[in-house]
Structure formats: C-alpha cells, structure tokens
C-alpha cells in the first residue's frame, strides 16, 4: 500500500509537468485553433536559457523568474513575427509553420548550446519526507507545487482580470470582440506569451530528472498531447486533470504491469490517446464539435 501511494505521488509530479505543457497547448488551441507543435522546443530553448543564466552566476530562483520573463517575450514575439503573417490562412498552413518552428528552434538550440547532455540544477533538496510511512521525494512535491501554483495563477488571471476576460472573449468570438474595442491581435500574442511561460515552467521542472539536451521535451510533448486529448483539447481544466491522470496512470502501469515496464511508457501514452479519440473524441471535459452545414 505504501509503495502504491509513493507511485501515485511520483506520478503526480510528472503529471504536473505534462499538465503544464498540455495547458499551454490548450491555450493556443483555443485562441488560434491549431496545435502548436513547437511548444516543446520553445520550452527546451527557454530551459537552456535558464541554464546559461545560472552558468553565468545567477542563483536558481532569480534565473527562474528571469527565464519566465524571457519566455513570455519570446512567445509574444513568435506570434507577432511568425504566426501573424499566416493568421488568416487555413489551419493546415499554421500547423506546418509550427512544425517548421519546431525544427528551427531545435536546430538553433543545438547550434548555440551543443548536442551533449547537460545537468540541470534542481531548486529542491535531493531528500525525502516520511509521511505516515510513505516516503515522499521533496523533488516530486516541489515539482508538483511549482507547476500547480503556475496553473493556479494563470486561472486567477483569466478569472479575475479584465485582460483575462478579454482573452477569453477573443477565443470565443474574435469579430464580436473587435467591435467592443478589443485589440484581438495583441490578445492572441499575449496567449502565446503565457503558453511559453507554462512551457518554460514545465521545461525547468523536467530538466533535473530528464537532463538537458536539445530534444528533451519531444517525449514530454507527446505526453502533453495525450493529456490534452484525454482532457478535451479545448478545455483548460481538462488539460490539467488529463495531465495529472496520465502521469499517475502511466507510472502505475509501468510499475505494476510487467510488460509495460519503462520501455513501453510512451507507447502506452499513445495507446491512451488513441483509445480516447475512438471512444470519446471530445475528451473528458471538452465540447463536442457540432458543425452546421
């Protein structure tokens, strides 16, 4: 039983990382109607930025905060410079642009920092707590806490601020928003900025365990896809619940179902994704797409 609980806690930690990245995907999906395939690489790039900042003497938390600011401006810039020119084109065009962006950022990251694997500091002690006989890694608790705090802050932003409200309005009906004096283009850019911040948090939380290399987020991005689809691709709550659930389920399966082990974790995620798409395409919390012809 205690081991089971331990597996759940460590599943929640990786699930929180999937949830953050899945939420970033959902944010952009709701406003731009496409999956941003470059979300993972954007996160990798910002994580390397954090590594450089720390390498140049900044301590962890100042580097963390500065990285979030850089990620935000980077996200805004990507939308303004690269996505905006194709904004009104068919969705497939935007998707291809984000795939191009994935490849470009991946290459640039390798070019700047090299392809060799780097260690990335964790802000949390490599220690454990004993909670009623269950051994809990502080690393896991911290990862979970940081990711969930970010999600909570973002939720508060959308729920309680005027700009957050306007961003939700733009995602629902951009034309009507324009008539109410909302600058739609900037709201979209802001969405990309916030998505990049979520990605940066996910990247920096994942890096201490998966280590820093130019492709480190590729696998996490696939988990995030699965999580977003599981929760319902247009549902922010779904992305968070989906991410956490996926983290726990995968962790339990790879521990208790022998043939899954560590090798079949990723295929398991893809299987979950496929099953969800077949049985409940709108996901757990998503809206059924109704098209009037």
């Amino acid at each position: 039983m205690t081991e089971f609980l331990q597996q759940i806690v460590s599943g929640l930690a990786s699930g929180a990382i999937y949830a953050s990245l899945a939420l970033a995907l959902v944010l952009i999906y709701r406003s731009t109607d496409v999956i941003n395939f470059a979300q993972g690489e954007m996160a990798t790039f910002t994580t390397y930025t954090a590594w450089s900042l720390m390498h140049h003497g900044l301590s962890y938390w100042p580097a963390f905060v500065l990285t979030l600011a850089i990620a935000f401006s980077g996200g805004v810039a990507v939308e303004r410079v690269i996505i905006r020119p194709v904004e009104r084109r068919p969705e497939i065009v935007i998707v291809i642009v984000t795939i191009g962006l994935l490849i470009a950022i991946n290459a640039i990251t390798g070019w700047i920092w090299g392809a060799d694997v780097k260690a990335f500091d964790s802000p949390f002690p490599n220690d454990t707590w004993d909670v009623h006989g269950v051994t809990v890694s502080i690393q896991d608790v911290g990862t979970f806490g940081v990711c969930m705090l970010t999600v909570l802050l973002l939720w508060g932003f959308f729920r309680f601020t005027t700009v957050g409200l306007a961003m939700r309005a733009v995602a629902i009906n951009p034309n009507a928003s324009r008539l109410l004096a909302v600058r739609v283009g900037w709201m979209l850019a802001l969405g990309w900025g916030l998505a990049a911040v979520l990605g940066a948090v996910a990247g920096m939380m994942a890096a201490p365990t998966v280590f820093l290399d130019p492709s480190m987020m590729l696998v996490i991005l696939i988990y995030a896809f699965a999580a977003a689809v599981l929760g319902g691709i247009d549902s922010p709550i779904g992305a968070v619940v989906g991410g956490l659930a996926l983290g726990v389920v995968i962790n339990l399966l790879s521990r208790y179902v022998n043939f899954v082990g560590t090798e079949l974790r990723l295929p398991t995620a893809l299987a979950i994704l496929l099953i969800v798409l077949i049985i409940r395409p709108q996901g757990l919390f998503g809206h059924k797409a109704v098209r009037r012809v």
């Binding site: 005027t162 409200l165 306007a166 939700r168 309005a169 629902i172 009906n173 034309n175 009507a176 928003s177 324009r178 008539l179 109410l180 004096a181 909302v182 600058r183």
Partner: protein, 236 residues
C-alpha cells in the same frame, strides 16, 4: 453638422460589390431606420461604418473621418454595433458579457457606474448574472446584446435586425426600450430592419436600400404612406 455622415460609400466582399454609393446622414438624438430586402446592403452599411468591411467613400462621425480607422478605434469613438447574430459570447456568463461591453471605456469603473442604469431597463438580467449567455432564449440574448452595447454609453447605437427570429411581443418590447432610450437619454440609433412596420413606427426618418443604393428616403411617417414602400415592405 450631422452626427454620422456617409457620402457615396462603396464596399465589397472580394470581387463582389455590395454597396454602390450609399449616402445618408443621422443627426444627434435621432432614430433612423435602414430598410430593404435581403442582400440589399443593410448589414454591409453598418459594417462600413464600424470598419469591418473594406470600403471607400466618405464616412464621418462627429466630423471626423472614419476612413482609415480600425474597428477598435471606431468603437472607442462611441459607436456601439450590435452585429448580425448579436455577437454574444455564449460560453461567458451574462455578467461577463456585460463587462465586455464596458471594456472600451475601462472595464472596472465603467461596469460599476453603468450597470445599475442598464439593469434598470432589463431588471430580469440581475437574477441571471451568473448564467451562461448561450443558455438564454433568443429574445433574452437580443436584450443582453442591447444591454451590453448600452453599458459603454455609446454616442451612436447601431442595431442589426434586432427582430430577427423573435416573437412579436418580444420585438415590440425591444423597440419600446429603444424608443425610451431615445426620448429619455437622447440616444442616437441607426437600426437595420426587415420588419419595416415596427422600424418605421419607431424611427423619425428612414432610408430604403435597393441593391446597394438608397432608393427612397424621408420621414418615417411619410414612408409609411409611400406607395412603393407600402407595397414592397409593408405588404398592403
């Protein structure tokens, strides 16, 4: 100087020309109706004013040209456009929709200052504040769209077919409120309608659009007696 002035306005959707030179004026404190059949260019005329369609020719508001302005900056001048289909945010609550109406003038202070006045016209909205706008009935949605436009205290209110798809009693209620806003607050209104009868009864002057041009114009009371208008739009 009229509040709103259109001079030879042309507009097109891609290669298709929708307006072939529309000229009209609206004075401060006036209710003006814009009538016409489907496809005559009524909606496009409103869109030409709010800047949501490509247009040429003169459009001016309070003497300022709107020609190069974006829809956002036109809204900031005080033109509230309730578009075709009402333009509500169905997944947002009634209250959030109203807050979006206040966005143009600084959301927080405007909603606090204007909500009581607007809710005075639509008292039933108070109890529905936390309900999703998409769950309201058609008539309620039209009233919410009107209420949202009023929250911004517009200098000019533009309504695109407020009667569309609604029961006669609800249409009468909406036009009663529009008349009341006009006589009590001096609100200027440009209303597009297919329901010529109620539009003429509620307006001081009217224009009739036919294939992108003004075909008839005059005082609403006179147009009600105008033979062509009567036959084509009033049906007797």
């Amino acid at each position: 100087m009229p509040l709103l002035e259109l001079d030879g306005v042309e507009a097109r959707y891609g290669p298709i020309k929708a307006l072939h030179g529309v000229t009209l004026t609206l004075d401060e404190g006036e209710v003006v109706a814009l009538l016409g059949a489907n496809g005559a260019g009524k909606t496009t005329t409103l869109r030409a004013i709010s800047g949501t369609v490509r247009r040429s020719g003169g459009v001016s508001f309070e003497g300022r040209s709107l020609g190069r302005r974006s829809p956002e900056s036109i809204a900031k001048l005080g033109i509230a456009h309730v578009p075709e289909g009402r333009g509500l945010f169905p997944e947002l609550t009634v209250w959030e929709n109203l807050r979006m109406g206040a966005y143009v003038r600084g959301e927080r202070k405007t909603i606090r200052a204007e909500a009581p006045r607007v809710l005075g016209y639509f008292p039933w909205l108070e109890a529905r504040k936390t309900q999703q706008a998409g769950t309201l009935s058609g008539g309620e949605q039209q009233m919410l769209a009107l209420a949202r436009a009023l929250v911004s205290r517009p200098r000019l209110l533009m309504l695109d077919e407020p009667s569309l798809g609604l029961a006669p009693t609800i249409v009468a209620e909406i036009f009663r409120i529009v008349r009341e806003l006009n006589t009590e607050d001096g609100l200027s209104v440009l209303v597009v309608e297919q329901n010529a009868k109620i539009a003429l009864e509620s307006s001081a002057r009217a224009y009739v659009l036919e294939v992108g041009r003004i075909a008839v114009e005059g005082a609403s009371a006179e147009l009600e007696r105008h033979e062509g208008v009567r036959k084509s739009y009033l049906g007797y």
